[in-house]
């Protein structure tokens, strides 16, 4: 295995880490407006209060690592999807400040403004992530000059939108299970119902997307022929999905949450399989695709970054675990909360 492939895998790990971790707090944002009343909304927001910022850092680091390891793909993707990325930025900015500002002032209209802004921004950001994945899967008009030749609206084709909606449903389910773990009493009982409903919606969209992919996105399965072991992950994915309702039914929400984490990890893995060895498929000519080789930094930079990652990642994992351990248990509102 060479360094280019190693960095492709590491980017996948960062992306999966981001999707699992920020996935549940985006999901909490998506379902945020389903509770009424200031106290319950504060409980929802504070369930992710200490954690969302650290979770978002996985995205920032993913972006930094993409820039560093595959600058050409980073430049093409970010400039080509200019409007989409700007929309994503605005969503992320609003999400961050909504949480920070919401409870800082005691007025119903102030608070509902930031509640709506928080929820909408979470939904839009998730949808855009899904749309980006959908476009990466199906390929984009990349020319011989390695530049994107299309418009913003070209990104919103049915397949990409379907993956976008699937992302929203996945995170809503993931967030609901997380909330079930973090709440108690009457609120928790209601969230129990959300878990079932969001799982139902997720399941329908998951099946639809799988069928659509198999029928209409031939690129996504090309690696399956040469690497049949990938089917193991497909099976694991299905088992993880099936275990979610089983665990909810048996009253073991912790297992349900782990299963939904595993589902997201497996989906990210399959996304990587669908891409490899490309980072961006060219829909105009396969030879113009940006691959882990023609879009990468030099061998030396990949090696330096590998050293940085090897030194840094143990610390990152250690203090991420410490923070999650410190904030374990049910949400308690205090003067320190949002």
């Amino acid at each position: 295995m060479d360094l280019n492939i190693l960095w492709f895998i590491l980017l996948g790990v960062l992306l999966a880490g981001y999707a699992i971790l920020d996935g549940f707090d985006l999901g909490v944002g998506i379902v945020h407006l389903a509770v009424k009343g200031d106290k319950e909304r504060r409980i929802l927001m504070n369930s992710i209060g200490p954690l969302w910022d650290g979770n978002e850092v996985w995205l920032v680091t993913f972006g930094g690592a993409l820039f560093a390891a595959f600058p050409i793909a980073y430049a093409t993707a970010f400039s080509g999807f200019y409007t989409a990325f700007m929309a994503l930025l605005f969503a992320l900015i609003f999400r961050a400040v909504s949480m920070e500002f919401r409870s800082k002032h005691d007025s119903p209209s102030w608070r509902s403004f930031w509640d709506v802004s928080f929820s909408l921004a979470s939904g839009v950001a998730t949808l855009l992530f899904g749309v980006a994945v959908g476009n990466a899967m199906s390929g984009m008009p990349i020319g011989a000059d390695m530049e994107y030749h299309g418009a913003f609206l070209d990104l919103l084709h049915p397949y990409a939108l379907l993956v976008g909606v699937l992302a929203v449903a996945t995170f809503a389910m993931h967030g609901s299970i997380y909330l079930y773990l973090k709440t108690e009493g009457d609120l928790q009982q209601r969230i129990h119902g959300w878990m079932w409903r969001t799982f139902g919606i997720f399941l329908v969209l998951y099946i639809l997307t799988t069928m659509f992919t198999l029928v209409a996105v031939p690129l996504a399965t090309r690696n399956f022929h040469d690497h049949p072991w990938v089917w193991i992950v497909v099976v694991l994915n299905v088992l993880a999905v099936a275990n979610i309702p089983r665990a909810i039914f048996l009253g073991r929400p912790g297992y349900a949450f782990l299963s939904s984490c595993a589902t997201i990890a497996a989906l990210t893995f399959l996304f990587g399989v669908a891409l490899f060895p490309d980072l961006i498929h060219s829909s105009l000519n396969p030879d113009w695709s940006l691959t882990v080789y023609n879009a990468s930094s030099s061998h030396k930079t990949l090696a330096i970054m590998g050293t940085i990652a090897a030194l840094g990642m143990p610390f990152v994992l250690a203090y991420t675990s410490v923070v999650y351990w410190v904030f374990r248990g049910k949400v308690q509102l205090s003067t320190l909360s949002y």
Binding site: V57, V60, G63, F67, S79, I93, A96, S334
Partner: protein
């Protein structure tokens, strides 16, 4: 007006970076000040230091969130608007950005959670450790960002691969890239500038409390800590600036010539303008007052050696002279003002009369925008003075653009940024204002061990200050 993609993208970058840089210096400096305050709390066990740390932590958290939100924009923008630049520098610049993500951001954001929300969940020592880690994280991120930026000023440790539009820089020596000629001097200057800003920020708020007779004990102690930090930092800044100036003289002669509007290389000593208004067309400085030979002395340590002027550089490679000159001079004058103000403050602190000098306290309340201006203008000197290059001598700003982006897209995003940033700024000031009006939680002057234990003890302690009911109401309000 020329609404090309280049003009618009440059405008957008200036807008977003200047807005972003309102927040990081306070995070960097206040992080360090929080460490001092909490260390005092651990050492003395006095509740007022705890209240102090908690109050400034809340301010820190709001500021930090704004920094994160506006900072993601910067990371995205390299790719969205400056794709050619990203391809060109990715190999060199990328490892610094990745290191920032892995070493700094995770550290800051992880421990910030403990710092802000963890008071009741971890031991005081663990909490103090988290505060240190947050301050360290803020410092780490300044290291990597300044290194990356310095590489654009004084590229080192690389070679160029490919030709024409396909050319890009590839790293050959990581150590030489990190310790490029300007990085360490610029890092020191940036971090010290951040400490000046944060200390003046703390002094402004606490001087206001003192003038209004509120939270006196808290305010005087915070003010004193901040004044000491501000004095040390303000005195160190000119020294660091001098070191940096010598590097600029060696590595970026065009920038130095623009900073001082040296249009013509003379035969003998080159003067230093105290102020003036350069006229690039006439190649002359109007209304200027200059100290003979001082620029030669500062740049080379030799008052007789002439400084290379803009006449030795092709005109198409000139930076904008007026902006560079004025940004630099305003920064230097403000730096001088900070030295004077803090020294006057220290003298009166030593005499023990500072808190009676209302004029001085009002001055400290009102000057708080000036360190912000100085920080912004310092960066403006560095960045405008580097033009027309985005990577000095290698890649022109005009060649660094994204080719796939159209002018109307950039115009659209600029409008969005202006609207959103204006809104955020107003809300930020509003939230800050309500935090300041609320003030710290009142505590009695008794040390921890002497109060009777339990809730009653704390209630008694608070009742002793006469603020029990007020504080109680405030707490209840915040809970809702």
């Amino acid at each position: 007006m020329d609404l090309s993609v280049l003009t618009l993208s440059r405008f957008q970058f200036a807008l977003t970076i200047m807005f972003h840089y309102l927040f990081p210096p306070l995070s960097i400096g206040l992080g360090g000040i929080l460490v001092i305050m909490e260390a005092l709390y651990l050492k003395t066990g006095r509740l007022e230091y705890e209240a102090m740390t908690k109050f400034w932590t809340k301010i820190f958290a709001v500021n930090f969130a704004m920094g994160v939100a506006s900072g993601i924009v910067m990371e995205f923008q390299f790719g969205t608007n400056w794709a050619t630049y990203s391809r060109y520098v990715g190999d060199v610049f990328g490892s610094a950005l990745a290191a920032e993500g892995i070493f700094a951001f995770f550290l800051e954001s992880g421990f910030l959670a403990v710092l802000v929300f963890g008071w009741d969940r971890v031991s005081p020592r663990m909490h103090f450790f988290s505060t240190c880690m947050v301050a360290l994280g803020a410092f780490f991120s300044s290291i990597w960002i300044v290194i990356a930026n310095s590489w654009q000023q004084t590229p080192a440790g690389f070679h160029i691969v490919g030709q024409g539009l396909g050319a890009r820089a590839e790293i050959t020596d990581f150590g030489a890239m990190v310790f490029n000629p300007s990085s360490m001097h610029r890092l020191a200057h940036t971090v010290i500038g951040a400490y000046i800003l944060a200390a003046f920020f703390v002094m402004s708020i606490t001087a206001y409390y003192i003038l209004k007779g509120r939270h006196l004990n808290f305010a005087k102690k915070s003010f004193t800590i901040a004044l000491i930090v501000a004095t040390v930092a303000s005195l160190a800044e000119p020294i660091s600036g001098d070191l940096q100036g010598r590097t600029v003289a060696q590595t970026q002669p065009a920038k130095l010539a623009a900073m001082e509007a040296v249009f013509h290389t003379g035969q003998g000593p080159t003067p230093l303008y105290l102020f003036g208004q350069p006229d690039p067309k006439e190649q002359h400085v109007n209304y200027g007052i200059a100290v003979p030979g001082l620029l030669s002395l500062l740049a080379y340590g030799d008052s007789q050696k002439p400084v290379a002027g803009l006449d030795q550089i092709p005109q198409r490679d000139w930076p904008p002279v007026v902006a560079t000159f004025q940004a630099f001079h305003i920064m230097v004058w403000l730096g001088g003002l900070f030295v004077v103000l803090t020294l006057v403050g220290m003298y009166l602190l030593w005499k023990g009369t500072i808190f009676e000098k209302r004029w001085l306290l009002w001055t400290f309340v009102l000057v708080v925008p000036l360190p912000y201006v100085a920080n912004q203008f310092g960066w403006m000197t560095a960045e405008v003075g580097r033009q027309p290059w985005v990577v000095y001598g290698l890649l022109r700003t005009s060649d660094a653009l994204s080719k796939a982006v159209a002018a109307n897209q950039v115009l659209g995003s600029i409008i969005m940024f202006v609207v959103i940033y204006a809104l955020l700024f107003v809300v930020w000031v509003f939230v800050l204002d309500s935090k300041i009006k609320h003030g710290p939680d009142e505590v009695g002057p008794l040390p921890i061990g002497t109060a009777p234990g339990g809730l009653l003890g704390i209630a008694g302690l608070r009742a002793g200050t006469g603020g029990a009911s007020l504080t109680g109401v405030d707490d209840a309000k915040e809970k809702e």
